[in-house]
Amino acid sequence: MTTAHALSGAGSSPPSDSDTVIEVRDLRMRYRSQDVLKGVGFTARRGEVVVLLGPNGAGKTTTIEVLEGFRMRSAGDVTVLGTDPARGDERWRARLGIVLQSWRDHGKWRVRELLAHLGSYYAPYSTTLVRRPWDVDELIAAVGLTEQADKRVGTLSGGQRRRFDVAVGIVGRPELLFLDEPTAGLDPEARSEFHGLVRGLADENTTVLLTTHDLAEAEKLADRILILAGGRIVADGAAEELSRQASAEATVRWTRDGQPFEEATAEPTRFVRRLFEEHGETIGGLEVRRASLEDTYLTMVRELEAGSVPGERAAHTFGEESR
C-alpha cells in the first residue's frame, strides 16, 4: 500500500499515535480479601502475537477481561488501542475482537446467518482503510467452515465450534483480537489448523493476545511469551530468550572408572574441557543436559500449585534480566 493511499484514509480511521496497542502498568485486582493480580505490567505492539501463559487460576482470564472492558480493575493503568477500557465506547469496541471460553450460545442459528447478523453491527464503523464487516463467505472459507455454512451452530463439532467462535471474533476485522484458552479441548489436528489461522491473522497486522496454560502452544505461536504466575508477570520475552534464561545452568553427568558423578554448572563447555584435561581417557558416559523452558515452567507450576513458592521466587527462576 502506498503512503498516499494510507494518508487518504487516515481521516476516517483514527490511527494509534504509536505502535503500542496494549499498555498495562501495575494492574491490580482484588476479590474480597484475595489479591488475584498483584502488579501486572506488559505492552503489546501492532501485529504482535503475545501469549499469556500460566497455570490455571493464575489470573489470565481476569487480566484479559480487564483489557476487554468487561471487568473493572482495582488499580493500575491500562491503555488498549489508546483508550482506557473502563471508559471504552462502542467505536472503540468495534476495533476489538473477542473470543471467550466456553460459548454455547445461538445454537439455533445457522453459521452463515449468524456471521452475517453479527457482522452487520460493524458496518457503521467501516472506513476506507478497513472494510467492515468481513465478507461472510470469504470469512467462512478462511476458517475452513465452507461445508458447514448452512448448518446450525449447535450441531458443530468442538473444533468447528472453536473456529466458528474465532470467525465471530474477527468478523468486524479487529485491530486487536483477544483469545481466551482458544484450543482447550481441541484434538491435535484441529489445534494445528487453529494455530495456522492465528498466524495468518498476525501476518495481516492484527495484534493477538492469547491465553493458554500449554507451553508447547505458547512456543509455537508467540512472538512473545508472558508468564503469569502468582499474580505477576514473572517472565517476558521471545520463546528462545526465555529458553536461554531458563537453561542458564546445565547438569553434567559422567563416569570415571565406572563411578557416576554429577555437577551443575553455568559454563558446561569449559567444565567438560577441564574434565578431559584432568582425567582424559578415564571419563565415560558423558551427558550434558540443559534445562529446557518446559522443565523450568513445569517445575515452577508444580511449586506454585503446591503453594510452596510465592511469586517472587517464580520470578527469580527466570533471572532478574527478564523483568
Binding site: F70, A94, L100, R104, H106, K108, H117, L118, Y121
Partner: protein, 283 residues
C-alpha cells in the same frame, strides 16, 4: 444513520430470524402445540356448561380469559426465561462484545417475544372458536379493544419479565417461580369469574396484570350481555388501561437500569462460574 439506529435495525432482523427459528424447531413447536392442548382440554370439558346469568357457556368465558393469561405468561415468563438462559449460555456476553450489540439484542427479544405471544394466543383461539359459541361475533368495536389491550399487555409484561430475568441467578429459578404464578392464575378469574372468590382474594388478584388482560380480552371477544359475570357488571376499560399502564410504566422505568446493571456484571468468568454450578447440579 447513527450506529444505534443501525443496531436497532439489525435487532429487528434478529427478531424475525429468531421467530422463524423457533417455529421451525421441533422442540419449540411441540411446546406451542402442548400449550394449546393444555388450554383446549378444560375448555372442551365445560363447553356447554352455562355461566349463570351471563347468557354464555363457561367455555366461552374461559377462552378469551386464557388468551389474556397466555399473553401475560409469554410476556413475563418467556422473557425472563430467555434472558436467564441467554445469560448462562453466553448470548448476552456475545451481544456485549459487539458494538451496540445490546441494543440489537433487546430489540430482537421484544420482537421475538411479542411474536411468540401472538402465535401462542392465535393457536388456542383458532381451535377454541369452533368449540364454544358466542366468542368473537361482536364486530368492529370489540376488535378495537384488542388493538389497544394487546400492545398495552405486552408493554405491561415484557419489561417486567426482563427485570425478573436480570435479577434471578439461573434459568432454574424461573421454574420455581412458576408455582406462585399458578397460584396467581387461580385468583385472576381465568377459569371462573373473580366474583366467586372471597373479597380479599379479589383485591389481591386485581393488583396483577393477569386479571386485567383476561378482562380486556373478554371485553373484546364476548357478547355485551356477558358483562353480567364481571365485577360491578362493567368491562372497566378505564381501570384496565390504568392498571396495565401502571405496570408498563413501572417496568419501563425499572428495566433499563436493571438490564444495564446486569449487562455490566456479565463477564466470561461470571458465566464460567454459573456454568460450573449448573454442571455440579447435574453431576
Amino acid at each position: 444513520m447513527s450506529p444505534v439506529w443501525y443496531a436497532a435495525k439489525a435487532g429487528v432482523r434478529r427478531g424475525w430470524t429468531e421467530l422463524r427459528q423457533t417455529f421451525t424447531t421441533g422442540q419449540d413447536v411441540f411446546g406451542y402445540a402442548l400449550w394449546t392442548v393444555l388450554l383446549i382440554v378444560p375448555l372442551f370439558l365445560v363447553r356447554d356448561d352455562p355461566l349463570k346469568g351471563a347468557g354464555i357457556s363457561a367455555g366461552a368465558f374461559m377462552l378469551p380469559s386464557m388468551l389474556g393469561m397466555t399473553l401475560a405468561f409469554t410476556g413475563m415468563m418467556t422473557t425472563a426465561q430467555l434472558l436467564a438462559t441467554e445469560r448462562e449460555d453466553g448470548t448476552l456476553l456475545r451481544a456485549k462484545a459487539v458494538p451496540h450489540g445490546m441494543v440489537g439484542h433487546l430489540v430482537g427479544k421484544i420482537i421475538m417475544v411479542s411474536g411468540t405471544a401472538l402465535v401462542s394466543m392465535a393457536l388456542p383461539f383458532a381451535v377454541g372458536v369452533f368449540l364454544v359459541d358466542g366468542v368473537a361475533r361482536q364486530g368492529g368495536g370489540a376488535l378495537l379493544t384488542l388493538v389497544w389491550v394487546v400492545p398495552l399487555g405486552l408493554l405491561a409484561t415484557l419489561p417486567m419479565g426482563a427485570v425478573i430475568g436480570s435479577l434471578v441467578d439461573s434459568p432454574r429459578t424461573i421454574g420455581l417461580l412458576m408455582l406462585p404464578v399458578m397460584g396467581l392464575v387461580v385468583i385472576s378469574g381465568i377459569y371462573f369469574p373473580l366474583s366467586k372468590l372471597p373479597e380479599w382474594l379479589q383485591t389481591v388478584g386485581q393488583i396483577f396484570p393477569v386479571y386485567w388482560l383476561g378482562l380486556g380480552l373478554r371485553a373484546a371477544l364476548l357478547p355485551a350481555e356477558a358483562v353480567a359475570a364481571e365485577l360491578g357488571e362493567s368491562w372497566r376499560h378505564l381501570e384496565t388501561a390504568g392498571v396495565l399502564g401502571a405496570w408498563a410504566v413501572a417496568g419501563l422505568l425499572l428495566a433499563p437500569s436493571v438490564l444495564r446493571r446486569m449487562a455490566r456484571r456479565e463477564s466470561g468468568a461470571a458465566m464460567a462460574e454459573r456454568h460450573r454450578k449448573a454442571m455440579q447440579r447435574v453431576g
